[in-house]
Each structure stands twice: as structure tokens, then as C-alpha cells.
């Protein structure tokens, strides 16, 4: 059974058809019963459809500026051959529109920098975490060991979350990226030790 966090992180991959059949089924099953994931999946689908409908290049059918200038009562611009303003104003307008569009679409346009290596680490971490959650759910641990396992998992969760976000920010710096993936791996090892030790008690 996939957790909400795991399923949520894989929604993009589901749409990209980059999941194994098992993972695909698990994410789809989760999204079917989770309103948050279902809404996000729907939003992602609509965004992709809208993006797919966009032409590769946008060009105005004809020059609109003389008409606009005439309506604005700018005889120089309306009658005269188009000068520098002709180029600058539409560009500035387009730029402003692009900035506004990017700001509005920012939540949807988070760059997907998942590499095979980070995907493997994410999967490895999710697996160890599942083992820890199962151990807690079974209820056989001494109370102190259960509390420490919970606290340990929470502390490592926070560290992994920060590391993962940092990986996204350093995708353009290979050396930093490599070091952070090594740190991520060591945190998974640490969590594995914590879970295994709890299991032995």
C-alpha cells in the first residue's frame, strides 16, 4: 500500500508513463481514493493538454500596432512608419504577460529533475520507511523503542526532505549533486539501521 506522500511524488511519473506496472497500479489506486492526488492529477493532465495545444511559435497575423496607436490618438505613431516603439512595446507586453503566466503556473511548472539515480534513492527510502511504518503498525515494539523509532524516522524524514529539495536546486552543479546523492544514500543507510535495530528488539 503506497502512502500519500509516495503516491503524490510519483504523479508526474505516472503521466510520463515512467513507472513500473506495479508502481503505476499503486499510484492509480491511491489517486482513485485520494481527493488531493486526484485533483492534482487532473490539473496536471489539463495543463499538459493545454500545453500540447499551443503552437510551436506565436506570430501575429498582421501588424496591429497602427490601429492601436490610432485608437489611442497618437497621430505620430498611427501615421508614421513604425519606429522603435513598434518593436519595444509588444515585446514588453509579451514579457510582462509571460512573467504573469509563469507566476500563475509556477506550482505546475516545478522542474522535474528526477534522474535515474534520485529515483532509485527515492524508491529505496520509501521502502525502508514502509518497513518502519509496518513495524510500528504491528505494535510489538516496547513503547520506548517505538517512540524512538518514530522520532528517528521523523528526524531523518526532515533531513531527507531538505536533501531532496537541495538536489533539485543543484541539478546544474554535477559535483554538488553527486555529493548530495551520497549524503542521501547515507541517510537511507542510517534509517535502515534504525529500523533493523527496532525490529531486533
Amino acid at each position: 500500500m503506497m502512502t500519500h506522500q509516495e503516491a503524490h511524488a510519483l504523479l508526474n511519473d505516472l503521466l510520463d508513463d515512467r513507472l513500473t506496472p506495479d508502481a503505476r497500479a499503486a499510484v492509480a489506486a491511491h489517486a482513485a481514493g485520494c481527493s488531493v492526488c486526484a485533483a492534482e492529477l487532473d490539473g496536471l493532465r489539463r495543463l499538459r493538454e493545454a500545453a500540447a495545444d499551443l503552437p510551436a511559435e506565436l506570430r501575429p497575423a498582421h501588424d496591429l500596432w497602427p490601429g492601436i496607436a490610432a485608437r489611442l490618438g497618437d497621430p505620430d505613431a498611427a501615421g508614421a512608419p513604425r519606429s522603435a516603439v513598434r518593436h519595444r512595446r509588444p515585446r514588453l507586453t509579451l514579457l510582462a504577460a509571460a512573467v504573469v503566466a509563469l507566476a500563475l503556473l509556477a506550482p505546475w511548472l516545478r522542474p522535474d529533475r528526477t534522474t535515474p539515480e534520485t529515483a532509485a534513492l527515492d524508491a529505496g527510502y520509501a521502502q525502508v520507511r514502509r518497513d518502519g511504518e509496518r513495524l510500528l503498525a504491528e505494535g510489538g515494539l516496547p513503547p520506548l523503542a517505538a517512540a524512538e523509532l518514530r522520532d528517528g524516522m521523523s528526524a531523518i524524514d526532515g533531513a531527507v526532505r531538505e536533501t531532496r529539495q537541495a538536489l533539485d536546486r543543484t541539478a546544474g552543479a554535477p559535483d554538488q549533486f553527486r555529493r548530495l546523492t551520497a549524503c542521501y544514500r547515507r541517510k537511507i543507510d542510517l534509517l535502515r539501521q534504525v529500523v533493523d535495530r527496532a525490529a531486533r528488539t
Binding site: 528526524a155 552543479a173 554538488q176 541517510k187 539501521q193
Partner: protein, 297 residues
């Protein structure tokens, strides 16, 4: 009330009080073993104290918890298993646990296990392994190797040992005298290490701080990785080492050389690679938000 009725009532009361009267059972057992035997001790709660001696036998003294079924002792020769056996049921509600005080040959190796047992070991030359949850662990002497897994107990290793490995979640760790190889894996506890010359050092922590005072050996291989804890390394002034330091958002205080620089114009993070003295020992440090202090002593 007639005499028979009085006797019956007295008998019932005595039977009812029997467990309380029985209380804790004294232990006094001895077994012959080899001088380098492996001794395994499993005591859920209470304490395990082991001291080395010159005889080729294991002496077991102490008190058995009133809720325990028995003290089971199996083996002899090259191994001896000692286990406090409890009834197989949940919610035993153990209060004091059993007290086990052992004398074993100096050359023995130990495998100790418990949940809330305190562990104390002295004067052994073999390998010592201990796995507990909340008990405190103390190791003293010159064991060949020490391997400790604890969850929240305090761990103290005052041992001239060539190989020390400690795993803990939140317990405080204190190491004195380790040499050659030291490995510490820690989630949120702090570690205070005063070691000798270390060839191999591995420190992996999330939020725990490390205070380390040690000497890298000539061709040492040190790797320290800490997410948000602070690393303080007190190192000898005439050090020969190659440093490779990476910080994502933490700061570096460096008595040995230059400051850390931005890794990239486009990504966060600072790094510093430099050679102290003639180089040779490799010291790699990675932190995320934790600070690093390299202090010359």
C-alpha cells in the same frame, strides 16, 4: 471458628502470598569454559556486569527477577549462553529486572542483549558486542573490538580498542582511547570523542553534534557526514592531510587555511579543498546546514 476452618484460611492466605514471599531468587552458578570462549547473555531488564579474570570459568552471580521463569545456562567449552527467561506474554510489567554479575576469562568475547538493561564490561581482550534499547552501556579495558547498538541509552567507551563501532538514535556517546578504526552512526544524540591515532573514521549523523579530538594516521581515511549538527575537530598543529569540505548552507571556521568558496554561481553550497602540511591523510567532511570548525591545538 473451628480449628480446621482456621487452618484452611491460613493455607489459602499463604498460597496467595507465595509469589510475594518468594521474591527475587539469588543466583550463584559456575561453568567451565575455554579461555577465548564466546559468552552470550540475554537479560531483558536490569543489569549485566562482566569483569575479566584469570580463571577458565564463568561465574554468574546476582538476582533473578521475580517475574522471570528461570535463568537458562547452556553450553560450555567454546561458548556459553545465559538467558533470563520470562513467560511468553505481553505486558509483563517488569520493574527491576534481573541483576547478572559475571566473571569471565580475560580472552572471552561477549554478545550482550537487553532492552532496558544497563551494561558494564571491564578487563576483557576479546570482541564485545552489545545491543540494548534504553540501558546505559559502559565498556572499559582493552578489548579487540567493540560493537554497540543502542537506541536511547548513554554509551561510554573508555577502551584502547582497534575497532569501535557505535550506532544510536538519541543516546549520548562518549569515546575515550579508541584507535585505528572508529565508526559512529547517530540520529540525534551528541558524540564526544577523544581518540588516539585513527586510520579510519566514519561519522554519520542527522542532528547530533560531534566534538572530536584525534590524530589522523599517516594515510588515514576519514569521512564525516552530518546534516544539521555541528562538527568540531581539534587536530594537531603539524597535521599532514588533504581536506575536502562541502557545506550546503553551514559555515566553516578553519584554523588551518583558506575559507570555503561558493561551489557554483548558479547553485547554493560552499566547498574547500586544501592540503595541510605535506598532505597524505584524507579528510572528507559533508554537512548540510551544520557548521564545521577545524581547530588547531
Amino acid at each position: 471458628m473451628n480449628r480446621n476452618a482456621t487452618l484452611a484460611i491460613a493455607t489459602v492466605l499463604l498460597l496467595a502470598a507465595a509469589p510475594a514471599l518468594a521474591g527475587r531468587t539469588p543466583i550463584d552458578e559456575t561453568r567451565k569454559v575455554d579461555g577465548d570462549a564466546v559468552v552470550r547473555v540475554d537479560n531483558l531488564a536490569g543489569s549485566i556486569t562482566v569483569t575479566g579474570w584469570d580463571k577458565n570459568e564463568v561465574q554468574i552471580r546476582g538476582e533473578l527477577d521475580e517475574k522471570a521463569d528461570e535463568l537458562r545456562i547452556d553450553g560450555g567449552g567454546d561458548h556459553l549462553d545465559i538467558e533470563v527467561v520470562y513467560p511468553k506474554k505481553k505486558n509483563l510489567n517488569i520493574r527491576e529486572g534481573s541483576v547478572l554479575t559475571l566473571r569471565v576469562p580475560h580472552g572471552c568475547s561477549l554478545e550482550l542483549q537487553g532492552v532496558s538493561s544497563d551494561v558494564e564490561v571491564r578487563d576483557l581482550r576479546g570482541t564485545i558486542q552489545s545491543s540494548t534499547v534504553s540501558g546505559d552501556v559502559q565498556i572499559h579495558g582493552k578489548p579487540a573490538a567493540v560493537k554497540i547498538a543502542s537506541v536511547s541509552g548513554e554509551v561510554t567507551v573508555e577502551a584502547e580498542s582497534d575497532e569501535v563501532s557505535i550506532e544510536s538514535v538519541s543516546g549520548r556517546i562518549e569515546v575515550r582511547g579508541a584507535r585505528r578504526s572508529l565508526e559512529i552512526n547517530l540520529v540525534s544524540g551528541d558524540a564526544d570523542v577523544q581518540a588516539g591515532e585513527l586510520e579510519r573514521l566514519r561519522f554519520n549523523a542527522v542532528s547530533g553534534d560531534l566534538d572530536l579530538r584525534a590524530d589522523p594516521a599517516r594515510n588515514a581515511d576519514w569521512e564525516l557526514d552530518c546534516h544539521s549538527g555541528e562538527l568540531t575537530l581539534e587536530l594537531p598543529g603539524g597535521l599532514d592531510a588533504d581536506f575536502d569540505i562541502n557545506l550546503f548552507s553551514g559555515d566553516l571556521h578553519n584554523d588551518f587555511g583558506p575559507k570555503a568558496e561558493r561551489t557554483s554561481k548558479f547553485a547554493p553550497g560552499k566547498e574547500l579543498r586544501f592540503t595541510a602540511g605535506k598532505g597524505g591523510a584524507r579528510v572528507e567532511i559533508n554537512t548540510f546546514s551544520g557548521d564545521v570548525r577545524l581547530v588547531k591545538r
